[in-house]
């Protein structure tokens, strides 16, 4: 026989949600403060976000240094660091915001996609805080977080086309409303950021590859090597970067075999140009296809100067409004998760305590 508990978590959290909503109806100036947690890869992060766009605090404990010696993120090393740091980071975020846990209206956490062991830590922490403080709790898709990074500095009014490019993702989305999206295209092999990492490693420029390639490319000639742009079938909005990566490795190999000096800067610049060309081409195609005139870019690769500059030029010519997140919001952080969570909260889509981490989940399935 199932017991009917009138004092279980969901009853208490829903009561809290209703009470807060009613209070806001009486006094619309009352804020929605959300404590957000992010641990999907190698950053342990927490933030307090007001009304989906005011950053009261954002703390990111990066593990880059501990992974650098491995040339990439090691999942087990990342998970261990998350457990070590998670409460320090959360405590700091609350303290910097001048808030206590019970001042929050909700707890939000990235639950998918990402490194499963790393996600478990954030999700478990978030569920514990929500359970202990009787607060509503929201599982957020990591890419929705990236998408809403721009909400911190800009108005984000759907519909628009979003291009999300990071170490784990390359996605073109048609965002039809808050939290509602259709995937137009995605990478069939490497993510753009992943290609940057691999090429950077091959060129001996280190990890993470994005900033390293960008730096090296400044001194190089982007026309030195004509790497093929993989545009796939006519009209496809999907991406493929593994061929480009192989082409770069081939050039490297040729130089090494001929015992010629490797033109690192030229290769970096030509590779970067090839990636930017493809990204811009597909983004423009998506705008044409949907008939929309706003493009939002997001993700770690959105911090790339060459990509930003080119998109600015192209969008100006085409009369497209380009929304670009602040640089610090491009890489993983919890502020963006709190921004995405705000819209979810407004829609009353609360998660229950059996929500768990999911390694792969398409954003339109969220």
């Amino acid at each position: 026989m199932a017991m009917n508990n009138s004092n279980d978590y969901m009853t208490r959290a829903t009561a809290r949600y209703k009470a807060d909503s009613q209070a806001r109806q009486r006094d619309p100036s009352l804020p929605v403060d959300i404590l957000a947690i992010e641990s999907s890869c190698d950053e342990t992060a927490a933030a307090v976000i007001r009304d989906g766009h005011i950053v009261l605090s954002s703390v990111v404990a990066s593990q880059i240094e501990s992974h650098q010696r491995f040339g990439g993120v090691v999942p087990e090393v990342a998970s261990r660091a998350h457990v070590e740091q998670i409460i320090q980071v959360i405590a700091q975020a609350l303290q910097k915001a001048g808030k206590e846990l019970h001042d929050m209206q909700a707890i939000a956490v990235t639950f998918a996609p990402g490194l499963i062991g790393a996600l478990f830590v954030g999700v478990t922490a978030a569920k514990s805080l929500a359970l202990a403080a009787d607060l509503p709790f929201l599982g957020i898709h990591h890419l929705a977080g990236h998408l809403y990074a721009s909400a911190v500095s800009d108005r984000l009014d759907p519909p628009f086309v979003a291009l999300i490019v990071s170490g784990g993702h390359t996605e073109l989305l048609h965002v039809t409303g808050h939290g509602a999206m259709v995937r137009l295209g995605h990478t069939r092999d490497d993510a753009a950021g992943e290609a940057f990492d691999k090429v950077s490693r091959a060129l001996g420029l280190g990890y993470p590859g994005g900033p390293a390639i960008e730096q090296a490319a400044k001194l190089g000639n982007p026309a030195a090597f004509a790497f093929a742009r993989a545009l796939l079938e006519e009209g496809s909005l999907d991406f493929s970067f593994s061929g480009l990566k192989s082409a770069v490795l081939l050039v490297l190999d040729k130089h090494k075999r001929a015992q010629k000096e490797v033109p690192v800067a030229d290769i970096a610049a030509s590779f970067q140009m090839a990636v930017v060309d493809v990204l811009v081409h597909k983004a423009m195609l998506a705008l044409q296809r949907t008939g929309l005139s706003t493009l939002v870019i997001a993700g770690g690769v959105a911090a790339n100067r060459a990509l930003r500059d080119r998109l600015l030029d192209v969008c100006q010519v085409c009369g497209v409004r380009l929304v670009v997140p602040d640089l610090w919001l491009c890489t993983d952080n919890a502020a963006m998760i709190g921004a995405a969570a705000y819209y979810r909260y407004q829609q009353g889509k609360l998660s229950s305590l059996d929500l768990t981490a999911v390694a792969t989940l398409s954003i339109d399935a969220w």
């Binding site: 087990e76 261990r80 062991g117 830590v121 805080l129 403080a133």
Partner: protein
């Protein structure tokens, strides 16, 4: 009344319990659920509390098995324990999962070997003296080959003049293979649960009662610094370190 929540997810079983500071156990849930610890831990805690008409705010302390054991499993209970303790501003205490497994044998007389299989013929090992209802750790818990664990047990039976050896843990069959060759009175004890949360609760109890007197600042510190016991480096880390070592020796 003081209510203590105890949990352990270092094995395939999910174990939670509630007890009072008098030592009285109030409730215990045990589920063998494979890889669903992360999904089920919080709904079960919620269910256990609300069934007893309690809420998390009624908790006065948390005790948790910190491993060694399944890396992912251990992280889930430890993260939950430190997060709950932080949110509720109550003490949290980490307990060795090996010690908790040995605790069920405290009323026996003899040497207790706890062996959690760590693959590659090795075990996370704890060795204890069970004497007159008391359990005393005899070695620092560590990862050993089964052969070496039994060798150490044999030495300890002599130095503590004990005849009986009790072996528990999921590595007990492999340990028995070696034990039967060199030891006389060996018993392999099958516990329905390798670790029960009620034992985590009992092991933690004396220290938990002490910590209840701690200042707020120290409590926050405990929640922030609690980490799992892995007894083993991450594989990539171990490889990297041995590579560094090689380089050092080559340079010489």
């Amino acid at each position: 009344m003081m209510t203590i929540l105890a949990m352990d997810t270092s094995t395939e079983a999910l174990n939670i319990a509630l007890g009072e500071d008098t030592g009285q156990l109030i409730a215990e849930y045990s589920l063998v659920v494979g890889k669903q610890h992360a999904t089920l831990l919080h709904p079960l805690i919620d269910d256990m509390l609300s069934t007893l008409s309690l809420t998390p705010k009624d908790l006065t302390a948390i005790a948790v098995g910190v491993g060694p054991g399944s890396y992912t499993g251990v992280r889930i209970a430890v993260t939950a324990a430190k997060s709950l303790a932080f949110a509720l501003s109550i003490p949290v205490l980490g307990v060795s999962s090996l010690l908790a497994a040995a605790y069920a044998q405290r009323d026996q007389q003899g040497i207790v070997l706890v062996a959690f299989d760590a693959r590659r013929s090795q075990a996370y090992t704890g060795i204890y003296l069970a004497d007159d209802g008391r359990l005393t750790p005899l070695i620092e818990e560590t990862k050993l080959s089964y052969e070496e664990a039994i060798r150490q047990v044999k030495v300890l039976t002599t130095s503590y003049q004990q005849e009986r050896v009790i072996i528990v843990g999921d590595g007990r069959k492999q340990a028995m293979n070696y034990a039967n060759r060199s030891l006389q009175k060996v018993v392999s004890s099958h516990q329905s649960m390798q670790i029960s949360a009620k034992d985590v609760f009992q092991v933690a109890l004396p220290e938990v009662t002490q910590r209840l007197t701690r200042a707020q600042g120290e409590l926050t510190q405990d929640a922030q610094t609690l980490v799992p016991t892995y007894l083993q480096l991450a594989e990539a880390e171990a490889r990297w370190r041995s590579l560094q070592q090689e380089r050092l020796t080559n340079d010489k």
